[in-house]
């Protein structure tokens, strides 16, 4: 059984936000809600690096642990999802999540059908509604996994920095890249800032 994971190759990420708008596009995520963000360290100075972050679909998900109404579940693929009908929008999972993934649309935004409830990256796997139904799309966005596709963000990444899929396969690709790079720093100033070989 696959274990779905994201991996963002910081040597390749160019902070182009392709993944962010791909997500908006695929899931019709409204203004103000960002299931995915690109974070940049050392912006504008040597050693600048970016990675793209969303829900990490933790194996032992802290959000699920703290949810007072127990609305989280994990699919066999390891995708962490939740039921918006049950969610009360309390924001406790936001406390718990180490990545700030949960989002809370403002009450005027009725696009996701249920006011103020938590929204987060679904690994493009929809939610607990009939697969491919309008109800599912309205509440959770696309269910690409059910269609045999992978997350839109990773599929559209400009440089194939962002990978999504079975953890082992990701590791395989990533290891090959690291080998090809042969330990050479890919980021300008990295060796100067942190010493060669870091």
């Amino acid at each position: 059984m696959a274990k779905m994971k994201f991996l963002c190759d910081a040597e390749r990420c160019i902070e182009c936000n392709g993944c962010v708008t791909a997500c908006k596009n695929a899931n019709e995520v409204p203004w103000g809600v960002n299931r995915r963000r690109v974070v940049t360290l050392n912006d504008g100075v040597p050693g600048e690096k970016s990675i793209s972050v969303a829900c990490m679909h933790c194996t032992d998900a802290p959000c699920a642990a703290v949810c007072p109404v127990d609305c989280f579940y994990t699919t066999a693929d390891g995708v962490v999802l939740h039921d918006k009908d049950l969610c009360i929008g309390c924001g406790y999972c936001f406390y718990a999540c180490p990545f700030g993934a949960p989002q809370y649309p403002s009450p005027q935004q009725r696009v996701f059908a249920v006011r103020g409830k938590m929204d987060k990256c679904t690994f493009c796997a929809g939610g607990p509604e009939e697969v491919g139904s309008k109800a599912e799309f309205d509440k959770y966005g696309a269910n690409r996994l059910a269609e045999g596709k992978l997350p839109a963000c990773a599929e559209m990444c400009a440089t194939k920095a962002l990978l999504a899929g079975d953890g082992d396969m990701l590791a395989d690709i990533y290891r090959k890249r690291v080998m090809r790079r042969a330990g050479r720093p890919e980021t300008w100033g990295w060796d100067k800032a942190y010493g060669a070989g870091v």
């Binding site: 182009c16 791909a22 409204p30 103000g32 050392n42 696309a142």
Partner: protein, 965 residues
Amino acid sequence: MKLIKKSHTEQTAEAPSAGRGADGKGVSLNRRAFLRNAGLTVGGVTLASQMVPGLVRKSEAATTVAVGDDVETKRTICGHCSVGCGIYAKVRDGVWVGQEPAFDHPFNLGAHCAKGAAVRDHGHGERRLKYPMKMVDGKWKRISWDQAIDEIGDKMMEIREASGPDSVYWLGSAKFNNEQAYLFRKMAALWGSNNVDHQARICHSTTVAGVANTWGYGAMTNSYNDMLNSKAILIIGGNPAEAHPVSMMFTLRAKEQGAKLLVIDPRFTRTAAHADQFVRLRPGSDIAVVYGMMWHIFENGWEDKEFLEQRVWGMDQVLEEVARWTPDEVERVSGVDRETCYNAAKLMADNRPGTFVWCMGGTQHTVGNNFTRAYCHFQLALGNMGKAGGGTNIFRGHDNVQGATDFGVLSDNLPGYYGLSEGAWRHWAAVWDLDYDEMAARFGQETYEERGGSGSKPMNTSGIPVSRWIDGVLEDREQIVQPDNLRAMVFWGHAPNSQVRGPEMKKAFEKLDLLVVVDPFPTVSAVMHDRKDNTYLLPATTQFETYGSVTASNRSIQWRDKVIEPLFDSRPDHVIIYKFAKKFGIADDLTKNIQVNGEEPLIEDIVREYNKGMWTIGYSGQSPERLKDHQKNWHTFNTTTLLAEGGPAHDEFYGLPWPCWGTPEFKHPGTANLYDTSLPVAKGGLNFRENFGTERDGDNLLAEGSYPVGAEIQDGHPRFSADLLKQLGWWDDLTDEEKVLAEGKPWHLDRSGGIIRVAIEHGCAPFGNAKARCVAWNFPDPVPIHREPLYTTRYDLVEKYPTYEDRRGFFRLPTRYASVQAKDYSNDYPLIHTSGRLVEYEGGGDETRSNPWLAELQQEMFAEIHPVDANNAGIRDGQDIWLEGPEGGRIRIKAMVTRRVEPGVVFTPFHFGGHFQGKDLRANYPEGSDPFVLGEACNTAFTYGYDSVTAMQETKCSLCRIQPA
């Protein structure tokens, strides 16, 4: 929730101190974090207007899962940059319900940047201009298409009557597809004026002129994909991580395979962040740095001597200039020290083949044509030309700016770079099947030598370029080389905020007798002035609502499907062109060989027509059928070589990159890498073009001992013509029909394509085989030299490196150089002002700022300022500031304090518009058509200054001062 304590784990490692460098770099600010906060209020306002109820309704319309039997898949191409990424659009019942990555597309392999991943929003078009509009007493009023065309047409005819055809300006667009671009140029020709131009003027015109005058063609020589073959990649004045993001896929992959990346830029860009070596130079000092590197190359004997001997002329004269650029002088002028410059030169010399990439940082200067030629000379010195992995990879901007340039939406050219000579006009008149004399009679006939005219007729003189339209309107009539000022402007897919001198532009807008905007969006042209009437907005469609071909930066021509029917009351550009033609009574001439359905000229017929005329650059072999075959077989093309491996396009290069010689029946595969002698011409090989004669000052300009594989003439030779064929004894290889058309003609005017066919069948390039020319004797500076910008912080250098003398009759206008530079502004305006791109937006930004998925990510116009300059001016991060240029244009924007720029340099992005000198113009937009995000246009504060060959505007080094608002 059950809070059961489950386990204690011993944390072994120290908490990672992510990103906190030894020198405290970790505290540096993030552009986006800063902006998101700064933009909250703006976002809020926007949000409210967006949410109720537009988005809800929209999402209901489209909230259907994009799978199922009733979903159609269309193949189209992203409309936001010249990379040309493929897209699968999913359509159900005419609604664009989904967008899928095109993994099998040879350019992008499914990848997209923010813009490409958001193109489906074009299917919503929420903030589009929806109906034809007319301004009545300062208010927008909806009118019908018929009324609009009638009123505009009458007014234009009236102006034509009173002031001649040159008083109407046809400002076209890189947003046209090829067929529309061609038809637009043809319409302007039939109207009788060369006052037609488009954004290429202010984008890569200096490249096209500089590069073409060096070795023949003015385009990117290789391709994005070919960078996988490079061992070194030099990027100067370009930031592909933001401007051409998917190209970075190839750059970074090449790097993983061992290639070295060298970035030369005034800013530490996102691209520079990935470089092996980053060189920071003073804006506008490219000659110093490039010659500085060449100084080391020749000093150390790293040049490719055989290549220089066989294929290059005039390098000795360049070297005389290079000799002056000693390491000390380079450092004095550019700030780049000896060691850095040496290392950069060595990196390029050690790693061959290397490719040389440049963008707007190299072109938008008063000496832009010098820069582009110096870049070419650098590549010639290293022998990097005509090789896979080498070349000058000039990344074009808009999705079809290459095509629109090729099709001559230019004031100084006809389609195919034929120029404006009588021979050129006769060629096209013959292709169009029109009478030359009748056509010539539609132009003005006076020459105005007393105003600086050259003495040739308006039909044969370059029109006013788009960069100077303001002066065409405002300049004293007695100083313009045409009967009258510009009185009517048609902005057909153009953002005026992409042009400098805001305050004067506003005046020009207000002085016009007629202003027409044809665009999917109202654009800044609709709002930045205080006009009360005679102003029209006509809604055009985007390229997703029509179909046709588009030329990517690498010269590949890609076919786009129509994704959806035109939204609202909009019309495709070629339909609008036809409507105007009909009104002027030139529709029958315009479409003599083109089928018209209703009011829509048939796109395929337009292709067939230009196939019959575009011999010079080989747009002749790409029939609609061949292009569609390529479109259907994306998956068969190799992603490095672009060559199809099997399938219907077997052994052809993707998109038949021009030159695709001869007729479609000749089946030329296109030319992936220009001037590559390792392939036969019939398979995409080539050599440098003979375009400047065979001899100069007693020197032989033809190639010596270098020729494409399989050539029967194993040496340099002049361009082919009927005479040359006869001399060679190849005349009888022509068929009898070909002989009729070919008789007495040079290769590019032979409308049978026979001369080209015969030349290639003998293995020779039809345009001859010559050396590249390092001395462009027809240019103001035959050998490229450094000249200080008109507005410079280094006034001490002006004496040694002065600009040009003022000129008259340059593109019909007086043009100032020395008289501007005469005054030293650097005391009052101590900072260099430069501009560039953001990844989320494109061009003037009207389209992308109207896309909520993009607009949300970049909500505020800002300026990057170094902490030193900020502290000196008393400015803190995130604060509102005034930035003022030396001509008085001022903009109110946010300060972004960052070390991305060096002290003394201020950077602004150029995509914003809709604020003017502190005033928010949102209320001036037609209701519901205002972009989500507005902001000051940086160009409001930019200043005078035009390239000495192409009239490119100077936007990469001006001056400014900043103060808290």
